[in-house]
Amino acid sequence: MVHLSSFLGAIGKQTHEFFAQIARLSELIRSFLYWGFLAPIEGKKSLRRELFAKQLVFIGNESLFIVCLVSASVGAVLALQAAYQLRQFGALLYTGSLVSVSMTRELGPVITAIVIAGRVGASITAELGTMKVQEEIDALITMGIPAAPFLVVPRIFGLVVMLPCLTILSYAVGMIGGYLVGVVGLHINSDLYLHGNFSALVPKDMWTGLAKSFVFSLIIGVIACYEGLSVKGGADGVGRATTQSVVLSIISIIVADGIFTAIFYYVFP
């Protein structure tokens, strides 16, 4: 009987905590939407330009190298793996097509989002979490400055602008990686490789990839800010929230990618 009551108590506590989290997440999204879109219409000071610019530099410029490195590696590996199978059918020339379509439709957006979730999402959570622990967010509120336009809006807007840009860069660098492997390593004729690379691409490949990266940017931004602002305790709380933020972002990105791929396949064939 005691075990049953403690079991039911644990379920009740978990359920209560789950709904409390949903409520806090909804409040964060509501604040973001209000301060991001409605407040400027009402004449309130919303997006702080210098903070936004700072985020653009941090998310965009400072991620260039890592996004290029990962995308080039993925493009190169993709070309090698594709060649391994295509060679058996004498279809090595299609390596370029496979790399370009895979990079634009799938790997470019997903890989870039995962890299940014690890680099930027973790940083946002750690920064906001530390600010919360050190009472900096309380200080902001006490100064009559709402936290959302100051902390959340510039970060999410920064991600929304820069993630698609980095994704486009990832397309290009991934294709260059594939091209180098195809031409130098697999000895495919350069013109033929490029022809295969670009002839397989259609505009839909590009915009579906960009649409995904837009959604991924919102996922990373909302999760990173939510986890950061929900930190409890001290340094260990910040560490836990940062890990949670990255793990949750990556899982959400992969699940959202599956859903969007299915939507694009069945609804917009």
């Binding site: 920064e127 050190q134 009472e135 200080a139 006490t142 100064m143 009559g144």
Partner: protein
């Protein structure tokens, strides 16, 4: 000397002096735990009130309620005539522009320089030209005895300096009231004394009302015009430092002399429940 938080005008001040802060029937619960049990007091304009009490007596909850970070279940908190307890978030932000707050750990933004930290409330709430803001920042930093520190980052200066920068930020908008949370915490006695002197000087020079929450007796007696002592969520004594010193209240005597008392029994479950419900808010 009055017990149970009944207001007594400050000796030497004129009766009928306007209240900068007026708190009536304040109750705050975390879950089933009643943290504040009907607090009543007021602070006259220009007065320095020190809220004293041991750990867990509710003084931080009282302070956080006064600055609008917590909403009490019952009672009113009038700050310069506006009720913080019932105000909407927009109204609270308007009230907050009229007071400054010095946090225990200074709470400076590490991503901003010292100058940018002090300039932040001015930039956010005024449309002053950047050159004028720069001059105001310089003046505020000079008031707390820091000149030429504008370009340094908070992590490049000492703890005492950080507190002074936070004080400069708290007075950046020339507030009528400044709240201080444990101003001497974590500082050596000499630096803590410097901060106390600053509080006294600034209150006089700028004619500010000050509310200082602390558990440090020396500091409290140095800066207070009037003191209240909180114990288990209730005001057990209220009066001038002299009156508090001569108090016959057993807890006050024990607190002032740092004597040991009976250890309050508390169950882990009720304590944790209170904490968890506080986090949900």
């Amino acid at each position: 000397m009055t017990d149970k938080g009944i207001m007594k005008p400050l000796p030497g001040t004129t009766r009928g002096v306007m209240s900068a802060i007026k708190i009536e029937g304040l109750h705050k619960y975390f879950g089933e735990r009643e943290i504040l049990k009907g607090i009543n007091f007021q602070v006259s304009e220009g007065e320095t009130l020190v809220v004293l009490g041991g750990s867990g007596c509710g003084k931080s909850t009282l302070l956080r309620s006064m600055i609008g970070l917590l909403t009490p279940e019952k009672g009113s908190i009038h700050i310069l005539g506006q009720n913080m307890a019932t105000a909407t978030e927009d109204q609270r932000n308007d009230i907050r522009k009229k007071f400054g707050m010095l946090f225990q750990g200074a709470a400076l933004f590490n991503s901003l320089t010292v100058g940018e930290n002090v300039a932040l409330p001015i930039k956010e709430h005024t449309r002053l030209h950047p050159d004028i803001i720069r001059i105001i920042v310089k003046v505020k930093l000079e008031l707390v005895g820091l000149t030429g520190f504008e370009s340094l980052r908070p992590y490049e200066i000492s703890g005492g300096m950080r507190k002074r920068v936070a004080l400069a930020r708290a007075i950046a908008l020339d507030p009528k009231i400044v709240f201080y949370d444990e101003p001497g915490a974590g500082l050596d006695p000499i630096t803590a004394n410097v901060i106390d002197r600053l509080i006294i000087d600034l209150s006089k020079k700028l004619k500010m009302t000050s509310v200082v929450v602390t558990h440090e007796m020396k500091s409290a007696f140095r800066i207070a015009d009037r003191m209240i002592i909180l114990h288990q969520g209730e005001i057990v004594a209220c009066g001038t430092p002299q009156e508090i010193q001569n108090s016959e209240h057993p807890y006050v005597k024990r607190f002032i002399n740092g004597e040991e008392g009976p250890v309050a029994l508390e169950t882990k479950d009720s304590y944790l429940k209170g904490i968890l419900e506080e986090d949900d808010r």
